[in-house]
Every structure is written in structure tokens, then in C-alpha cells.
């Protein structure tokens, strides 16, 4: 029987703290069928642009559609890979350079499924979820709209 996964809250206001990631790991210690976790963390780069150095990214989203896209990506990942657990968190609002804006946490019995699923999920998020980002540059409040490659 196919397991139904409830839509989960993905968006968080501001950066995702290292403590939040640590707490997420700790919560899985009781799930002893898990043998492998793969964690992907997206961090804001201080890229150098013509307008200046990137100091952070301000994220916005078409939230209703984005939540639905995240849900579909989760369902696809569960059907493609043999996973025990899957959590996705993404920032909205300003995330300063050096801080975390994306946290993908995949757990499975064995490593291969976790590795493969995490790459698949991150690619899907970048391609399919309507999230928009302003790269804030320099001290004067100027910005450049970001575009995923």
C-alpha cells in the first residue's frame, strides 16, 4: 500500500540556524531502522557582481504553488528511492551571506538511496519551485535578481 505523506511546512522566515539542523538530526536518533542520512545545506555566497559584493539574498515565493511543488517533489522522491524520512526547509526573507537558506535531510536504511535522493531533490527544487531571490549588493541597497542555472 502506498503511504500517504501529509504536506509539510517548508518555509521558514530568515536563515536556517545550525542549531535547527542539529536538532533535526537528534530527533532521528530514535528511528533505528535508519542507517544513512544525507544532508544538503545551501549557503549564501558573497559573489562579486559589477554592482558590488553580495551581502545576502532576499527570498520571496508564490507560496501556495511552492508548497504544492515541494509536496510533489517529496512524493516523487519517496516513490523513486527507498527512503525512511525526508525533510525540506527553505528560507523566505533575507538570508545574509554565509548563512543557510536550504536544508534537505534525507534518511534511508543504506547510503546509496540517501545520496541519490538528495541530489535529485535539490535539482528538482531549483528547477520547479517558484521561489525568487534578490541578491543584495553593496552598502547602498542595490540588488540583482538571481536566476538558477
Amino acid at each position: 500500500m502506498k503511504k500517504i505523506h501529509k504536506p509539510k511546512k517548508v518555509f521558514m522566515q530568515g536563515p536556517i540556524s545550525p542549531q535547527f539542523v542539529a536538532d533535526a538530526i537528534a530527533k532521528h536518533q530514535s528511528k533505528v531502522s535508519i542507517g544513512a542520512h544525507a544532508i544538503f545545506l545551501g549557503q549564501i555566497r558573497a559573489d562579486e557582481k559589477e554592482e558590488g559584493i553580495v551581502t545576502g539574498i532576499e527570498y520571496s515565493a508564490y507560496e501556495e504553488m511552492a508548497e504544492q511543488s515541494f509536496h510533489e517533489i517529496r512524493e516523487d522522491a519517496f516513490s523513486k528511492f527507498d527512503l525512511t524520512c525526508l525533510h525540506i526547509y527553505h528560507s523566505l526573507g533575507i538570508v545574509p551571506a554565509g548563512e543557510i537558506s536550504l536544508f534537505v535531510f534525507v534518511s534511508s536504511a543504506h547510503r546509496r538511496a540517501a545520496f541519490e535522493a538528495s541530489e535529485y531533490i535539490v535539482d528538482e527544487i531549483k528547477n520547479k519551485v517558484p521561489i525568487f531571490g534578490k541578491e543584495l549588493v553593496g552598502p547602498t541597497g542595490s540588488y540583482v535578481w538571481k536566476e538558477n542555472k
Binding site: 501556495e64 527544487i125 531571490g133 538571481k146 536566476e147 538558477n148
Partner: protein, 79 residues
């Protein structure tokens, strides 16, 4: 009654608003609607964007019902 058009990111900057209600005639496609939007906002002509109808990405042939929610989505930047 009309369609609710949502603008995001740089497109909302061009329109100066996050959404607006348009009354359209029945039977329009996304392609038809895009033409009307570009007429009203010529600055969008050189911008890349996708159009979602009721939260599904459509193409120029996608039908827009007179009560649809239509969203103009600039390039994605998640991650």
C-alpha cells in the same frame, strides 16, 4: 468577477503591484493573455517568465477560464 493575475519578483516591480483583477472574455489562452499583458506592460517584453494557471505551469495553448488565478513567474532562484 474576473481572473486574478499575480506578479512576482522583477515583474511585480514593473507592474508596481502584486496582483490585479482583469475581466477577460471567455476562451482566451495563455498566449492571448500574454499579448494583452505585454501591451499593457511593454517593459516585460525583454523579461523571461513562465505562466501558471491555477498553480500549474502552462504553455501558450493553455486555456484560461474566466475565474482562473494566473501567475507570472520570473526565473526561479530557490536553493
Amino acid at each position: 468577477m474576473g481572473i486574478n493575475i499575480l506578479y512576482f519578483g522583477m515583474l511585480a516591480e514593473i507592474t508596481g503591484q502584486a496582483n490585479e483583477i482583469w475581466t477577460i472574455k471567455d476562451g482566451l489562452t495563455v498566449g492571448d493573455l500574454k499579448k494583452l499583458i505585454l501591451e499593457r506592460y511593454p517593459k516585460m517584453r525583454d523579461k523571461k517568465f513562465k505562466v501558471a494557471v491555477d498553480q500549474q505551469i502552462g504553455d501558450d495553448q493553455t486555456f484560461v477560464s474566466i475565474q482562473s488565478e494566473v501567475a507570472l513567474l520570473p526565473p526561479f532562484a530557490g536553493g
